[in-house]
Symmetry: C2
Subunit: 307 residues, 2 copies
């Protein structure tokens, strides 16, 4: 079994930043990542709000730069179909991946989260071409255009209000008669003249040519269908953290996010969480790199003082 | 008086990231900064641990890129000799700078912090050329070399332990007979064979040619002087947050850092703090950009819901 100071699980912005910091601090560090790159940043066509790239940068290129930088300082990266199991009980944490086992004094979980999909025709095809799961990330691309938000919770209405400041028109499409969002957000959204609600309505299909042109809607009361012309749609029906691996090992919140303190320490000494997988207020590359640095520094302190 | 959605004070990594996020969210935003750029990042010769730049980047260039990116989305920047006063009592926050006054619904303080200097000959001349105030930032430049750490607190010993993993030799120079650091750090440092303590000793002068070559030391017990050959010295005698402006307005900790919650909210509703000025565990560009994004998102939510 190969022994390390630090094992990082997850090769997105948070994991690679943790890897950069830990390797640069001369800690023997390995990062285990999925064979198929699937981080939120990697999948993003154009990122405008990671500071340092005034003209924006493709997510794929940014993550490649992160990888190059971290490996330059000695970070070892191994790819697996899946990381299967984490043993947290002993002094050394043990990670099982396929037939391999790795041990380390400290473990950083940076496995990210996934947006819930609608699972309808056109959704995958037009992702990054009008379909987005993050208004803060992509809203600015739709200045003065008509867009839709799909969902009825806090995130959906926050997205609608955000988009209300820049888009020409915002449709909020929700399958139920009532919104789940906090009353104050509902009131604000109702006050905003650009926002129009289409309740008891679902999106059946996303249509376009190269980019999104229309949404095929169905009214659930009378089964009537119509096409709605929009340049983009923001799907805000929830997010699922990738925490199956640590369920029963670490304290999670109701949705499944890992609960940490301000320094990214989890409920188990020596295990840290960074990035979208962590319970926190804002999931962005900026906050992921902040987390990655924090988790690596906390792991380093843990190794210095506790072991 | 010019009215804004958001006023940001401070033009470093945290302030500019907050400016990027707030402007991109179509909030009318102004950033007030010092006439003389003096942020920690700006002053750093070469930054290796901000992800995205595999070969490193000059601090000045990085901050220029941040500025270009934020202004591209409409951030207004004005420079002042000093920002004089903040009025936090009313519904609108008011900022006085010279003869100008600005009002806004939300205010983000990103005024940073300064390392305490020794104030000795050679210190300024060799900053960035062997003299550093941050082992996490610059330690990796001194691999397999002899370095000194000046100070006797937690930061000094954490720096010494960090450097012990990569340098050939680490001298800890402290003016008193006893260290102030936690016992556990003292024990760890004493156990590390590369670390040597020079107590009741001060640095009188930093000498070199282009880069640091030696430190002139004085033993405070017998006034004897000697030269110590090192490639670098890390000054760890404390940091001072730039919070004179908000003293009496916001809750500060003993040292003067602004106390916030996880979302960068201060003790006053509608005022947020981001970056080195905030009480937190790690002060890096990575954590500053995380804070900047968080503070802008929190300000946006505050404006949407509370005003």
């Amino acid at each position: 079994m190969d022994d390390y100071h630090v094992i990082i699980i997850g090769g997105g912005a948070a994991g690679l930043t943790a890897g950069l910091y830990a390797s640069r601090a001369q800690l023997k560090t390995i990062l285990l990542e999925s064979m198929i790159p699937s981080g939120q940043a990697y999948m993003t066509e154009r990122i405008e709000n990671y500071p340092g790239f005034p003209d924006g940068i493709a997510g794929r290129e940014l993550i490649e730069r992160f990888t190059q930088q971290a490996t330059r300082f000695g970070l070892e990266i191994q790819q697996f179909t899946a990381v299967d199991r984490v043993e947290a009980a002993g002094e050394k944490k043990v990670v099982h991946a396929g037939e391999k086992r790795f041990s380390a004094s400290a473990l950083i979980i940076a496995t990210g989260a996934q947006w819930q999909k609608l699972g309808i025709p056109g959704e995958e095809e037009f992702t990054g071409k009008g379909i987005s799961y993050c208004a803060t990330c992509d809203g600015a691309f739709f200045k003065d255009q008509a867009v839709a938000v799909v969902g009825g919770g806090d995130t959906a209405l926050e997205d609608a209000l955000y988009l209300g400041r820049l888009a020409r028109k915002v449709y909020v499409i929700h399958r139920r008669d009532q919104l789940r969002a906090q009353k104050i957000l509902q009131r604000k959204a109702l006050e905003e003249p650009k926002i129009e609600f289409l309740l008891h309505t679902v999106v059946k299909e996303i249509r376009g040519e190269g980019v999104v042109k229309t949404l095929l809607l169905e009214n659930l009361k009378d089964a009537e269908q119509k096409e709605l012309a929009v340049s983009g749609a923001f799907i805000a029906v929830g997010q699922r953290p990738n925490t199956d691996l640590v369920r029963g090992v670490l304290a999670l919140d109701d949705i499944g996010y890992i609960i940490t303190d301000q320094d990214c320490a989890t409920s188990v000494a020596g295990i840290f969480a960074a990035g979208d997988v962590r319970k926190k207020g804002l999931r962005q590359i900026t906050t992921a790199v902040g987390d990655g640095a924090l988790a690596a520094a906390a792991a380093e302190r843990y190794i210095e003082v506790k072991t």
